[in-house]
Point group: C3
């Protein structure tokens, strides 16, 4: 048997402070952008139109932030989560410089926490992953933790290390792209008259629209991100697996929910932070995804009266319209229709003073 | 309940002469072109090859005209037809400057007719929609009419206004791209020896080939066009709808038929007009689309002996080969296999004198 | 009935030494590259990253070699194999200059062999097809042979001509792109520490990963290549055909297998030759493709100590993991799970002396 195949890392292969440079740098192109549009139907004007992007001071249309996320994330999979049982959470995610077609993304991760589970067969690995462009400028910096199998159950448990992760990225840490200005921002072309000033903390928005997912779509997306997790692709194996079916990459649901959120949040033109996130339940081909959002808080940005931030919770459901905002019972037990609880921060123009 | 979500316009929301600038400008790219190729398998040489396009005087390969149509059309959906029951017809469609990758399309519509139906619950809205590029040059100018729901049945009926729409775009109104020349036109590379001179009015052509449609394909196409009509995407709702299934965007069928028409009309390198069109029956995933065309008339173009136009009817069917040219009984009753009756005008090189 | 439709060539339409210039030149773009990535999930760094490609001396990221193959092949279908019953084999395939986005490919074929079958209803046609870019530089030069129907069984059999085709492209005929250098080659980014020096003739590698194919995916790919063979697209006809289903384009399986081979052959950055190939069994949507490879031989390249070649056999199976390397019984009878036996030559960097 050849030793040429990479088996991925098992729990016992990780060490605290270990740094992993992930394979396959990726030059992003207008082809990726078109595919992203075709997969999610996103309509945010800044990402859709070079002219609109220029009107707010950007050199041209940046890639959708979640596309940047998926590309950075995808590279980490062969090293971090190929032998994962579950993707447990995200925190401390900050988006840096926008990604433009022609840029080349690489990513690297550092192990920031390790905790073996009581069963002795699995453990939780915490990593901080950073994606950079070809100028080594930070594109995305985020933490996630995953439950990973041990290969050798007899291998010793590492000293438990659980990193302190913030509940929320602080306002002072949000990175606003350079040179943004909004005096020419056209709400008609953007698709909504509602600006930062018009939203209130606690406000809930049903995004109304919905999208049914096909196998070909989620696999196409997940391959585009060079995410190699087997459960998304191999029906021959999954038919005997836990669900009998291929499981959809959780990030696909985030992108669908973000795209659906256009109807209600059309001016939320950029994601600047991922505060937290949980894939509450798996999704499968044939599921129809709906979404609603709650404004968790309004964040004024230091030195700016033309731009604010909203901390949002966007909840995605399957096969369940969101007029009643299905969520949890307050004690953490989720409505069975809920598949995603995503806590993130967006930028939105303010009404001119 | 938040007021941030756009419900779309209902019949009583439209006013004669109302002008609506549609949201989400769109920069088209080579990514869109590749997806269009992959969705329809189109083979017209002018759209496929920059070198071929240059050989007839174009700066590079223009986008397929129907891709331009879908992009302009898609933008109108959230404002014009989100609450539509049926897309009733097209007329007076003229293509202007070709669209090239890098161009940014926006579109706006003017309400040119309103007529409430006798049931008091619906009405017909006529709009003229114009798509322009970033230089405000006209890309497409066309009329369509749709049946739209009233929200408030008690709202008063508007004064009925039905615009006079032509049966055919006149030869003098056809816009031929600048600088076209055909002395280097290579029929071998174009895929057919048959030029304008070789076609006769009344000639019928069975395009032979056929394409079965999958859910992932029509949804991918429709999202690419940023067309948000719910019936195409939400199986959870549509399972209880009129057909129990997602309905395929009618424009998807036009593009498939146009692509199939290559086999028989390979030199019809550009659509210049949409004279009329009717989606005779809905299509669904799993349907196999065939097509045939009839040359309705041959149109000489003023001042040109190197280029002519053909007015064509292309008929698409589902699950029915077209050797017998299925159509209607002459009294307007269509063969049950027919799904599309599309009347349009194309340009084709003439044989050198 | 119109004579405008092309019926494709039948066996009796071919003549020895006949040269056929194929229709529809094709400008390849970043859109094609993105789609190829999304269809196969390929991760070879040279094709994925402009920066990585530049690090080995290429001007930017070339297209995947198999994408070049499919584009050249696709053009030949309407003329060579529209009326084919079977694609019998490949030989003497050499890749020339890399294809880059912006290049325009055309292809032409020469008939190099003809042999009518004993049944009098079919015959084997051997063609040599050459794809070139817009500078007439050779991109791909290969031979294939197909079994084609006769239309008129009474037409006379041609003098049988069977070309002598090599079992293997010789080392001296392998074309290495200009200016390649490897002193900055980064095995970490490339995804594997294993270089040419580390492989041995006879070594077998199970690529472990697998991919289930959907109808929408193989049809999207095949349309992208402008391959028009009816059996891939028309379920309405195929339901009554030999298999009751659409047959997947064999090249789709080659690309999947090549993509899966990354796990074990990550540094095999370029295909330089196709020595032979056989589609052992048809594949259908729903099949899950696995692959394994054997190193058939190691080839030192004249004048180079930084780069070597490996002749590989990559075998693809359906619904069968490849830990046991399923193949044939030594007498040519294949394991029923095997669908592809592909013999090709790749370039791989050597360890610095």
């Amino acid at each position: 048997m050849s030793d040429k195949t990479r088996p991925g890392n098992f729990f016992e292969d990780f060490r605290i402070d270990q740094r992993i440079v992930h394979a396959t740098p990726r030059t992003v192109t207008e082809g990726d952008v078109a595919l992203y549009s075709a997969l999610y139907g996103t309509r945010f004007a800044v990402n859709s139109s070079a002219v609109f992007a220029a009107s707010i001071g950007l050199p041209r249309a940046p890639l959708d932030d979640m596309l940047a996320f998926h590309l950075v994330f995808g590279k980490t999979v062969p090293d971090v989560s190929l032998n994962a049982i579950a993707n447990l959470g995200y925190a401390a995610g900050r988006f840096g410089v926008p990604l433009y077609s022609g840029d080349t993304v690489t990513s690297a991760s550092t192990v920031i926490g390790l905790k073996q589970n009581k069963d002795g067969k699995t453990g939780v690995v915490y990593v901080r992953s950073v994606g950079v462009n070809q100028r080594e400028e930070m594109v995305l910096d985020y933490c996630r933790w995953v439950m990973v199998r041990k290969k050798d159950f007899a291998s010793p448990a590492p000293e438990p290390t659980v990193p302190a992760l913030p509940d929320e990225v602080e306002a002072a840490d949000l990175l606003v792209p350079e040179n943004l200005h909004f005096e020419r921002y056209d709400v008609g072309l953007a698709g909504s008259p509602h600006l930062w000033d018009d939203y209130e903390a606690g406000e809930k928005i049903d995004h109304v629209d919905a999208m049914t997912i096909e196998e070909a779509e989620h696999m196409t997306a997940t391959r585009l991100y060079q995410n190699t997790a087997k459960v998304h692709f191999n029906q021959h194996a999954e038919k005997d697996g836990r669900f009998g079916r291929r499981i959809i990459y959780g990030g696909h649901i985030i992108s669908l929910a973000r795209s659906l959120s256009f109807n209600g949040l059309a001016n939320a033109f950029k994601i600047v932070a991922i505060n937290g996130g949980r894939h509450v339940a798996p999704t499968f081909a044939g599921d129809t995804v709906y979404a609603w959002s709650e404004v968790l808080s309004k964040i004024a940005l230091p030195g700016r009266n033309d731009l604010g931030a909203l901390r949002l919770r966007t909840v995605a459901t399957k096969d369940c319209a969101c007029a009643d905002f299905p969520f949890n019972d307050g004690e953490g037990k989720f409505d069975p229709a809920v598949v995603l609880d995503f806590d993130y921060t967006v930028l939105m123009p303010r009404r001119a003073a």
